[in-house]
Symmetry: C2
Subunit: 368 residues, 2 copies
């Protein structure tokens, strides 16, 4: 796939500069590193990782990249003495490296840091592209799907645990803490878990505060601490009867399930999103495509993998879905003064349908 990419852009190299917190850098190198490193891959078979001296031996051992150099090897130290500015010295060192490899047209991702971009653009043709690894990452290998499935299983267990403790505990912060600890002790990291009740739930990203009385959005998106792969799951739990909220929830459940029925290889993310908008609008709710500021004010979903939010987009201009993509479907409705509801599953796109990884009933009532 990268060879086509070089041909398409008539370029010799693609370059990243990031730590392994950047999932594309990690995906390309399989190297966990806290500080930024320089990664270069070329149409001539070059694949090179430049690391600080102290990371050299570990990079040789742990990274999947064969050729490792240290900043010292490239004369960074002398540059730093000469220029007296670490960022300038880094930029000059890397620019020299690219020129030594006869790079004339070089590709960098959207989020490439400006200080390197500026120096490079003075010396050769630099073209900003969407990161090809972001695109490659959208279609998962069977191993990646197994990883996401494991996280999904833990997610459902955490939701069952939540429903158990919700019978006695109604405080958002304490509930969040117990759910996140439950997941942590099983090897999964969940942060910013949304346990947002009553009128507060009208803000989709509000994590929730204080006591919950009537209904609650539970939205958790843990990461396996070993593999790094996420899942993403939401249910709205009714604690007391509320006709208005339940009607909103019914509409979201219908929208989500219509989306699930539609998904297969070849359908576009945009088609799925518009179907969800159609369903919600047919129930009289407003959506973002009508420029509404309340109602359905986010996208239908997104890819899930090393990031919670990654390619593809299930939204306006969302790309074609392909077998092996793992995506979420999460219609929600939010009205100030009333509250919010959302229901979300993580699914794998298959040739003629999709497989739901987060199996759980859609409407959950704590009311008897």
């Amino acid at each position: 796939m990268l060879q086509e990419f070089f041909t398409e852009h008539d370029a010799q190299f693609f370059i990243m500069y990031a730590s392994s917190k950047n999932p594309n850098l990690y995906y390309a190198t399989k190297f966990r590193v806290p500080d930024p490193v320089f990664y270069m891959i070329g149409d001539d078979g070059t694949e090179l990782l430049v690391v600080p001296e102290m990371e050299r031996r570990r990079a040789e051992r742990e990274s999947r990249v064969r050729e490792i150099a240290s900043l010292n090897d490239l004369g960074f130290h002398e540059r730093l003495k000469e220029l007296g500015d670490a960022k300038k010295a880094l930029a000059e060192t890397y620019a020299d490296l690219i020129m030594t490899h006869h790079g004339k047209r070089v590709l960098v991702p959207d989020d490439f840091p400006a200080f390197l971009y500026q120096t490079f653009a003075e010396k050769f043709d630099v073209h900003i592209v969407e990161n090809p690894y972001s695109i490659m990452r959208a279609v998962k290998t069977p191993e990646e799907i197994r990883n996401i499935k494991e996280t999904s299983d833990a997610t459902i267990q955490a939701f069952r645990f939540f429903l158990e403790i919700l019978r006695k505990e109604r405080n958002s912060e304490r509930l969040r803490n117990r759910v996140e600890s439950f997941l942590y002790s099983r090897g999964f990291m969940a942060e910013d878990t949304i346990i947002s009740g009553d009128s507060e739930s009208s803000d989709p990203h509000c994590t929730g505060h204080g006591d919950i009385e009537f209904h609650v959005i539970f939205d958790v998106f843990p990461r396996d601490r070993k593999t790094g792969y996420h899942s993403d799951f939401t249910r709205t739990v009714m604690i007391q009867e509320n006709h208005e909220i339940e009607e909103m929830l019914d509409a979201c459940v219908e929208a989500k399930n219509r989306a699930i029925e539609m998904i297969k290889d070849g359908v576009s993310g945009e088609e799925v999103h518009f179907l969800v908008c159609d369903v919600l609008e047919s129930h009289g709710y407003t959506t973002l495509r009508q420029k509404a500021k309340e109602g359905f004010i986010h996208s239908t979903g997104h890819g899930v993998g090393l990031e919670v939010h990654e390619r593809p987009r299930i939204y306006e201009r969302g790309e074609e879905l392909k077998t092996g993509m793992v995506i979420t479907l999460e219609p929600g409705l939010y009205y100030e003064g009333v509250g919010g509801v959302r229901v979300e599953d993580t699914v794998v796109v298959r040739k003629s349908g999709c497989e739901v990884l987060t199996q759980f009933e859609d409407i959950v009532r704590l009311v008897k």
Copy 2:
């Protein structure tokens, strides 16, 4: 401080585009947000945060920035329809916003994303600077110091717990898991904790695998899950006698304590680093300033706060230390085939000295 900064660079605006995972964005806005937002501050009193529609109300409530706009308010949606490319539409929307505010010379940080930099540089004068918030963050407020002190206290508790369990448990992975769980249950997040034994410890960033026999580097740098503030602490524990390793450790302890004695307002990070190199070289060990590839191959230390590694640098060209800075001192020695040692404290710089936040004896023996 920002006013001086605008005058110095003869500019009207400073701009960031990042999520709150970026500590400068969080520090400036006090807004926790998973996706990138646009922050703009000007010499005319402008301070503006642009967020997706779904984050608007939460930003109004939770952020310390007074003026909040949504992408919809700025016509992003129409741009996207027109241009068909979200990145281009974002760049054009933000460029227009800056021009509406009469921005002619605009400052952006080193890590500003290239896709915005490129569009901005076509329309007005864009100058790349070190992020002024990185510099401001180096000197901590009393509240920030209290936060780091709390994390330091938990860190020392975690080390005591480690020493207890080390009597029976010698497996790196299981030790790391228990130490990190101990911290998690107390509200602190530790990841990539180094529990690296024997010859493996010759790689400074190796987190450790398998069983430990002779000695072990324990290096933990937890973050308070509520406040976001870190501490950083390392001890080398002798499990069996080893003359060569103990001599290396003695030299590091001497270097660290000589550095602690030297630290006060006005001393430079470079002076501290060179003192540490002097001490280690006087014991016959090699250092990075001699271009050695073994021995002392990293910096003496770094600032600690919202990031584990932040300003100031305790290294070549390290800046002047000021009252209220919180820094680490962590001399280490690493020789392949022999092993590594390191000892590290987190300290607060005071007017005429420094305060050690991670009080613990320097040489720890499990040997009777």
